[in-house]
């Protein structure tokens, strides 16, 4: 039995976390709905004028499109690399497994500004700066550990006999991978891919270093705007980001169920 005082402590902790976690979102949502010209909370009257404005702003539209392209490229690059690395690390007895693990997690241990500058130098040397795909590749590289973790957690739960059973049924290596291994780790691949997409979509620091005025992505554009003047249209853009993240979580729940995502480490 939980005593009365324990109940009070638990519930106050729960509410404290709910409020601190959701407050910024609520503030931004409120501010975006203002009828006035200033970012303010509570909003001064309700209106959708700022949404209308961002929907019509050409620079925002193009930046949004670029962010989508970057996120798509990052996801497309990360899926095969992350899936194969995740499977290899958890399913095979490799030599230097630990070393490979550390190496793959490296992007995570280095501050983003460090990897950003490094990538900027490399891409600059290759004279590819100024196009969008290097930004996508960079986002894939720095966030790779997420999809590796996600796939590994699915692969560890996979019964090794399943692959032997496939061989026994007459499936060669490639067929075993396509018909049995891949479907079995699919929840991990889907979770990881959505995560990669959202992270690449929101990536700011590395994008800032790798883009120039012609190819700014949405987070970079917002940052540039903040430096001049803060208007409620930025709040509206933020809400769009939040909606995209919620859509991804909804999609994840539909495709694989949230419990897999919550259980994965």
């Amino acid at each position: 039995m939980i005593s009365r005082s324990q109940k009070i402590v638990v519930w106050s902790l729960v509410w404290f976390s709910i409020i601190t976690l959701s407050l910024p979102t609520l503030v931004v949502l409120g501010a975006s709905l203002t009828a006035g010209n200033m970012v303010a909370f509570p909003p001064q009257g309700l209106s959708l004028q700022w949404y209308e404005k961002i929907a019509l702003a050409r620079d925002l539209q193009q930046a949004f499109l670029r962010s989508l392209i970057v996120a798509t490229i990052a996801t497309i690059v990360a899926i095969p690399v992350g899936t194969l690395a995740g499977l290899a690390l958890s399913r095979f007895q490799l030599r230097f497994t630990t070393a490979i693990q550390v190496w793959l997690m490296l992007p995570f241990t280095i501050p983003l500004i460090g990897s950003g500058i490094g990538l900027m130098l490399v891409f600059g040397e290759w004279h590819v700066l100024g196009s969008l795909w290097p930004v996508g590749v960079a986002c894939a590289v720095i966030n790779l550990p997420f999809i590796i973790w996600s796939v590994s957690s699915s692969a560890v739960a996979l019964d090794p006999d399943l692959e032997l059973a496939a061989q026994n049924c007459g499936a060669g290596r490639v067929q075993t991978f396509l018909h049995v291994t891949l479907p079995a780790v699919m929840p991990g691949v889907i979770t990881g891919s959505l995560l990669m997409f959202i992270l690449a979509m929101n990536e700011f620091l590395v994008s800032l270093l790798l883009t120039d005025a012609r190819i700014v992505t949405l987070p970079v554009l917002i940052y540039n705007s903040i430096r001049s003047i803060i208007t409620p249209d930025l709040a509206a853009v933020s809400v769009v980001f939040i909606v995209i993240a919620l859509a991804a979580i909804w999609l994840l729940d539909k495709l694989v169920g949230l419990e897999i995502f919550l259980k994965s480490k």
């Binding site: 006999d161 399943l162 059973a165 026994n168 499936a171 075993t176 018909h179």
Partner: protein, 372 residues
């Protein structure tokens, strides 16, 4: 190795599987399989029986092709299998944890080997239906695997292993996880299907009852070595060594020295018969089945027994259709186990009661003493 099956074997039954001097060394100290050699005729049901860690599953996995023998050869259908990849062997296997594909339906699981082995796509639905019918799962074809009961999953696994009509069916303790009732039902089911199709089958288990019930032949393994290959009856009646006597059935063991007529234990002569030639005076071990020892009130009727001794009941266990007595024999300084049937008819002997026990010379089997 005693046969017991020679009467059934004919020239029309070619050999399906042969193992010659097969070793498996994982490099972890003791070898998993040592010098395994056996042969199995087509159409027969062989059970490899042994405690966990005896190497029985390793032997099975080598036959399936998942592991390559360190030394020796395995022939399947007369051809050396060493160079044949597992997916090219004509071998169906039911795994211990079944290893059904969770993302496929019943039908898709059973059709998978046919697709992988490039059967005519027009034939596949008919074949799948036929084998689902054989395992009595007609009507379940569209179900998901995790929507089935344990017994139904077993049947899907059997259908998947048999649907491509392999030369050889391997069963890797698939019944171990089932409760007793279902396990016994599935044992009979395995036997029915095997007889119906006549497919050569190798089953692995640690359950001696299962081995006796389902098999035409049994191989007992211990510590990586084959101890004996025989028919169930042959193995039960004529165990090749004390380990087999201990592993199959309930036996009591007497340690002593070989004499002309049996065994002398602690100075007391016990009538018995030697399985191997043992020179008199050498250390020897006798084994006797619990149901071959008779029990009676002191001075009671034990006519026909070659050895009669007195003892005290130290414990008894009620097993329903019979009682298992533990009787301490002071003359031999040992305890023997005795099955007594129809316990309801007679008043059971109380703990501490003095009783007479006796046996026939042919039932006490004498083996050379082994360091075990």
């Amino acid at each position: 190795m005693s046969g017991g099956s020679s009467a059934e074997s004919t020239a029309g039954n070619p050999v399906a599987v042969v193992a010659q001097g097969v070793d498996m060394d994982f490099g972890t100290g003791a070898m998993a399989v040592k010098n395994a050699a056996f042969s199995l005729e087509r159409g027969r049901f062989l059970t490899i029986l042994g405690p966990s860690g005896s190497g029985k599953t390793t032997l099975l996995r080598m036959i399936a092709g998942f592991q390559t023998p360190t030394r020796g050869t395995i022939l399947i259908g007369g051809r050396p299998a060493d160079a044949v990849a597992p997916h090219r062997r004509s071998v169906g296997m039911v795994f211990q944890k079944l290893a059904l594909f969770p993302h496929m339906t019943v039908e898709e699981n059973v059709a998978f080997p046919l697709k992988m082995r490039r059967f005519n796509p027009r034939e596949i639905p008919e074949r799948v239906a036929h084998y689902l019918d054989l395992v009595r799962l007609a009507g379940f074809s569209k179900r998901r695997i995790n929507a089935l009961s344990g017994g139904q999953q077993q049947r899907v696994a059997i259908a998947r292993a048999l649907v491509f009509e392999p030369e050889l069916l391997l069963l890797d303790e698939p019944l171990a996880a089932l409760d007793r009732k279902l396990r016994e039902e599935m044992q009979l089911e395995f036997r029915r299907i095997q007889k119906e199709l006549g497919v050569t089958t190798i089953n692995v288990t640690h359950d001696q009852r299962e081995a006796l019930v389902v098999s035409d032949e049994i191989i007992v393994m211990d510590q990586g070595e084959i101890q004996q290959q025989a028919s169930p009856v042959g193995m039960y009646r004529r165990p090749a060594n004390p380990f087999v006597a201990h592993f199959i059935g309930v036996s009591s063991f007497l340690t002593g020295r070989r004499t002309g007529t049996g065994l002398t234990v602690n100075g007391t002569e016990c009538a018995g018969q030697a399985v191997d030639d043992i020179a008199p005076g050498l250390a020897a071990q006798g084994a006797i089945r619990a149901e071959q020892v008779r029990i009676a009130a002191p001075g009671g009727d034990l006519s026909g027994c070659d050895t009669v001794l007195e003892g005290q009941v130290s414990d008894s266990i009620f097993e329903g259709e019979r009682l298992l007595y533990f009787v301490r024999l002071p003359a031999l300084e040992t305890t023997v186990q005795i099955y007594h049937h129809d316990p309801a008819e007679q008043a059971p002997y109380a703990r501490g009661a003095t009783v007479s026990v006796g046996w026939n010379a042919r039932d006490l089997l004498i083996f050379p003493a082994k360091d075990r």
